[in-house]
Amino acid sequence: MADELDDYLRGGSEISHQYKRDSAPAPPIELDRLVLKAAGSLQARTPFKPHSLAPLAFAASVLLSLALVLAMVFGPQVKKPDDKPQVVRVRIFKSEQPRATPASARERNPALWLHDIDALRRAGRGSEADAEMRRFRSAYPDYIIPISE
């Protein structure tokens, strides 16, 4: 019995010969694909698939986000209405002082003043009437004196 096993273990037995002749199946190709894929050995030979774009899409998203941030930080500024009350500087112009007029002119009505001048002239006080007329003219240079009747 020992010789029988030793003969077999030495190799080249008829049993081994027949077994190797008749038993040569290999695993199905689908099994090869599944196992190699699980082991990560098919990465280089994997056909192009849409999910291969995932890294590119991620990079594009990062770039777009960065561009938006930069545009917000360094782009044209648009002032937002803030809540603080704003100080408005306003130049106030005072109204011009009225032009100075003689006290007599400011105090006297031009018509009444002319009536007084006429009374002086009729009373024979012509020089006083002329002096008063000069003061009237200086006070009311544009006043139209009605023609005496």
Binding site: M1, A2, E4, L5, Y8, L9, S13, E14, I15, S16, Q18, Y19, K20, D22, S23, A24, P25, A26, P27, P28, L31, D32, L34, V35, L36, A38, A39, G40, S41, Q43
Partner: protein, 199 residues
């Protein structure tokens, strides 16, 4: 570690991230492993499932790999354990079936196609004489013979794979060889007679 075991070196490279090293290992062992599982389980579907299970286990545990034995011993020890689990599941299933004879028809429909006894018998009948004789061997003797034929490992390595003493492994292999010879002898005598008749 056997310093001449290049396959252990490939496995170390795969452990460290070299996928090409795995491809080389797979190309070398896929045939022997598949045939071992096919002849041992005697069922093509079960063999395919076990084949995936073995490689998946190796892939999942690669980070913990340390070359304490030949790579073939390491790989086929995984295969042995997967096969043991398969036979346990199969045995449990067979134990359940006779207890429910009244529902046998119903239960038979629930048994996976590849585990049905008639399918196993068909598988055996499709083999050549030597393969049919191998399939007819007791489970432990069949495994010892298949490990020897498919891996070329010595009896000590076969004992290590199957977790038994060396003498037990040697005994199993011895009985397997004797039975195979006895099974094939009538056919060899018939062939010799045919040759003499037509000579």
């Amino acid at each position: 570690m056997d310093l001449e075991d290049a396959d252990a070196g490939l496995m170390l490279r795969y452990r460290d991230g070299d996928a090409a090293a795995f491809a080389a290992l797979y190309a070398h062992y896929k045939g022997p492993l598949y045939r071992y599982l096919l002849r041992h389980a005697r069922n093509a579907c079960a063999a395919a499932d076990l084949f995936q299970e073995v490689w998946s286990h190796l892939i999942a545990t690669r980070a913990r790999y340390e070359p304490r034995a030949k790579f073939a011993t390491f790989l086929f020890h995984i295969a042995h354990n997967c096969a043991i689990d398969y036979f346990r599941r199969d045995l449990n299933l067979r134990r359940v079936m006779p207890a429910h004879d009244a529902e046998a028809t119903l239960l038979e429909a629930e048994v996976p196609e590849h585990q049905r006894p008639d399918r196993v018998a068909e598988f055996v009948e499709q083999q050549s004489a030597v393969l049919a004789a191998v399939a007819a061997l007791p489970q432990e003797q069949r495994e010892a013979f298949l490990l020897r034929e498919e891996t070329g490992l010595n009896v000590e390595e076969i004992a290590r794979i199957t977790d038994v003493p060396v003498e037990t492994a040697k005994s199993r292999l011895r009985y397997a060889v004797r039975k195979l010879k006895n099974s094939l002898r009538p056919m060899q005598e018939l062939e010799a007679l045919r040759l003499r008749t037509y000579a």
